[in-house]
Amino acid sequence: MSSKRIGVFVCHCGMNIAGSVDCDAVTEYAKTLPGVVAAVANRYTCSDPGQVEIKKAIAEHNLERVVVASCTPRLHEPTFRKAVEEAGLNPYLLEMANIREHCSWVHLHDKKGATEKAKDLVKMSVARAAGLEEQDETVVPVTAKALVIGAGVAGIQASLDLAENGYQVYLVEKEPSIGGIMAQIDKTYPTMDCSI
């Protein structure tokens, strides 16, 4: 059994999740999971009120781990990491359960199956969250130089913009001259002016 105090936030995402997942049932189920001391359903967890709720709950319940059951972590993990960090938690103590892309959206006509799956995904996230540890990110220096591959109209524009911003640019072109296909075109639409 976990000794960590975990908060679970189940997102409706409007009807995106709530349309095919019984979010209330998932929230109630979350409350029964080991370590969970608070479980709340939100209409949009990523919205400001949703994030405020997470921060409030962290303070109120002295949460040590946060699970957000919403969309893919590839979309909003940075959002929620920032939110928990602002509430004083290490951002790596956040865990997400993807109950939208991997669940509600792909089981639109199977509410029972989707709800059962969402419960499992939350359960898995809660289990993982209990074992999460604080992490410190490494700071890496950035070389303020850019490589642009290809000197057609896009590469030329990018190089000039970068150079005007003060960055050193290496512009690599495989042909003997820059210009690309644009240079071969006579007039260009919609203004009918010359390409070169």
Binding site: T72, R74, E101, H102, W105, V106, A114, E116, D120, K123, A127, R128, L132, E133, D136, E137, T138, V139, V140, P141, V142, T143, A144, K145, A146, V148, I149, G150, A151, G152, V153, A154, G155, I156, Q157, A158, L160, L162, A163, N165, Y167, Q168, V169, Y170, L171, V172, E173, K174, E175, P176, S177, I178, G180, I181, Q184, I185, D186, T188, Y189, P190
Partner: protein, 617 residues
């Protein structure tokens, strides 16, 4: 173009190709192969004396073969750098010298036959990929007779014919008799929107390009009869509809429906056989010039570039962005951005817009001077390490330093570690901790998933960059799937250790799927080769123990393959249904026996040690 040549902050490396990229965001190391130009770029004044004496004649690529050039040449009059170039393959021979006429003619002595290719090493923080596209070659569409009939030309050839700087000085001529054509037809969607030959997508620029071309003809020669054959005219951008109307007001005829065939008759006219969509009857329309409005394709060697940069592609072959709406100029690999057609076919305005967008994104990364890297690197627990060196061997980044002779445990160079987790999965002694993706964390997910009704579930390990993203893409596309699979995300499929798989089977999983990026697409160079090796080996072991190997499938699913993900999930569900409770119980029994045997063996092996120790004590 000239601005680039002049800007003090831009170093132009023309006639060069990127051959190797290593490193990571903020700290890329790039090797650029510079081909020998044989002409001193700084000294050459582009006087043209060398060209006059060169005896070699070759088709001029810039003029689409409608003119010739010499072996030493300038691609076009406004070329940047303006220096001439000697094409070594075309030259009669510079090694040993066969002709030497050009260098004799060059007063400034800027031709150097001894120049050699060289490799240049660069260090950069960001990379902008602006590799462009290539134009569809319509030769494969035999029904239109391109290359068979001289007056069937492509839109690119038309551009050169109508260009005042082109081979005809801007005079539009039939290629067979050099006379002004009386009737010109444009055929749209050549190589685009086709399921058979060419590409299935819309190439974005061809409709408006033809609209523009019809106006160019009509403004120069109003007497020429111009017809455009199309599927749909896509004039969706700012000012586009106006231009389309302008073309129509010039008397250009627009007809829906593409000709099925072009045939040349005895008079040298081109007969187009086309269905009149209003009457449903096939008609014959005659022209003396036909312009094939060709589509855009990914350029040659884009795949090579993609693999070098660890990027993915979409189904159309162009590069995959980090997010189609919210990060349209970012590559999934941090520090790499897209500009122009490398990401998808687009016109000049969109290419320029995207280039500026990419620069803004790149600038926001560079301006801080430093960035934070996700804390998902590996750590070695020295006390557990038996110094076998496997971790150093499997690391795709050479981020683990190990010298067996030193009798010291290996060390992880944190800045070089990308966090794939392959070392953690391969370590036989549990001596490696993958931060944020620890063994315990992953095992706890498996336990939670299979605690209740394991028979109803399929355990899916999915790598963050491809398979998990492919599942996301299936979700965004609302591709309906069976509800049995549950995904466990790891950064790379190479993180999935045999321990996790066996644990899932012990807990009653009917099916365990391991999924990752396709070979060549792995975001951790080639870590997924270890995934395959490991999973194949484990499957063989399971089969030997009497467990069905099919229950441990391995699939490669890319971030763009939402449909493939859906199909694989359907397949997994069918597979799950074939597994019986008895079979799962049998598996559990076999694995428990196996574990007991191993433990007994270990004990036996340890005992003599202890006895020996006791004796010495």
């Amino acid at each position: 173009m000239t601005d680039v040549g002049r800007h003090p902050k831009v170093e132009l490396l023309a006639y060069s190709e990127v051959t190797k990229v290593t490193g990571y965001v903020g700290n890329f190391k790039v090797t650029v192969h510079r081909k020998a130009r044989f002409v001193d770029e700084k000294e050459c004044t582009a006087c043209g004396d060398c060209v006059e004496v060169c005896p070699v004649t070759r088709p001029n690529e810039f003029e689409m073969g409608l003119a010739t050039r010499k072996a030493i040449y300038s691609p076009f009059p406004q070329a940047i750098p303006p220096a001439y170039v000697l094409n070594a393959e075309d030259c009669l021979g510079h090694m040993p010298l066969a002709c030497e006429k050009c260098s004799q003619a060059c007063e400034k002595e800027c031709i150097n036959y001894d120049q050699e290719d060289e490799d240049v090493e660069l260090e950069v923080g960001v990379i902008i990929v602006a590799t462009g596209m290539k134009v569809f070659d319509p030769t494969v569409l035999t029904e239109y007779g391109y290359t068979k009939y001289p007056n069937v030309i492509t839109s690119m050839e038309f551009e050169r014919l109508i260009n005042a700087g082109g081979p005809t000085g801007g005079e539009l001529v039939r290629l067979d008799n050099r006379e002004l054509p009386k009737k010109v037809a444009f055929l749209q969607c050549i190589g685009s929107r086709s399921e058979k030959k060419g590409q299935p997508y819309c190439s974005n620029v061809c409709c408006m390009n033809s609209v523009k071309d019809t106006i160019l003809i009509k403004e120069h020669w109003p007497e020429i009869d111009v017809g455009v054959y199309y599927i749909d005219i896509r004039a969706f951008g700012k000012g586009f509809e106006d231009l389309y109307k302008r073309s129509k007001s010039h008397g250009v005829r627009y007809m829906r429906g593409l000709p099925g065939e072009i045939r040349m008759n005895e008079d040298g006219m081109l007969d187009l056989y086309v269905e009149n969509v209003e009457t449903g009857k096939t008609e014959k329309h005659s022209y003396d010039m036909v312009v094939l409005s060709v589509g855009l394709e990914p350029p040659d060697k884009l795949d090579e570039m993609r693999q070098m940069l660890n990027l993915s592609k979409t189904a159309d072959g162009f590069l995959l962005e980090a997010h189609p709406k919210l990060e349209p100029v970012d590559a999934p690999t941090r520090g790499i951005y897209f500009a122009g057609c490398s990401e998808a076919p687009k016109d000049i305005k969109d290419s320029v817009t995207q280039a500026s967008g990419a620069v803004a994104r790149a600038g926001s990364l560079m301006c801080k001077g430093e960035i934070t890297v996700e804390a998902i690197t590996s750590r070695i627990i020295d006390e557990k390490c038996k110094m076998c060196g496997i971790c150093a061997k499997v690391c795709p980044y050479n981020a683990i330093q190990f010298d067996k002779a030193s009798k010291q445990p290996p060390k992880v160079i944190e800045a070089a570690c990308a966090g794939c987790g392959c070392c953690g999965a391969e370590c036989p002694f549990d001596a490696i901790v993958m931060r944020h993706f620890t063994d315990e964390q992953i095992i706890s997910q498996i336990d939670a998933m299979l605690e209740e009704n394991p028979m109803d579930k399929v355990v899916v390990f999915a790598c963050n960059w491809c398979s998990y993203a492919g599942a996301d893409f299936a979700g965004v596309s609302r591709l309906q799937q069976p509800a049995s699979p549950r995904l466990i995300r790891t950064m790379c499929s190479a993180r999935v250790s045999t321990k996790f798989i066996l644990h899932a089977f012990k807990k009653g999983a009917p099916v365990v799927l391991v999924s990752g990026c396709h070979f060549g697409d792995c975001h951790y160079i080639d870590a997924n080769h270890w995934t395959k090796k490991r999973v194949d080996k484990l499957r063989d072991q399971l089969v030997k123990l009497g467990i069905r190997g099919e229950r441990l499938p391995l699939y490669w699913i890319s971030a763009a393959e939402g449909q493939r993900f859906q199909k694989v999930m359907e397949e997994m569900e069918e597979l799950r249904k074939t597994v019986t409770v008895e079979e799962v119980e049998e598996t559990k029994r076999i694995l428990a026996d196996q574990e007991a045997k191993k433990k007994a063996k270990k004990k036996k092996a340890k005992k003599p040690d202890k006895e020996a120790k006791a004796a010495t004590d």
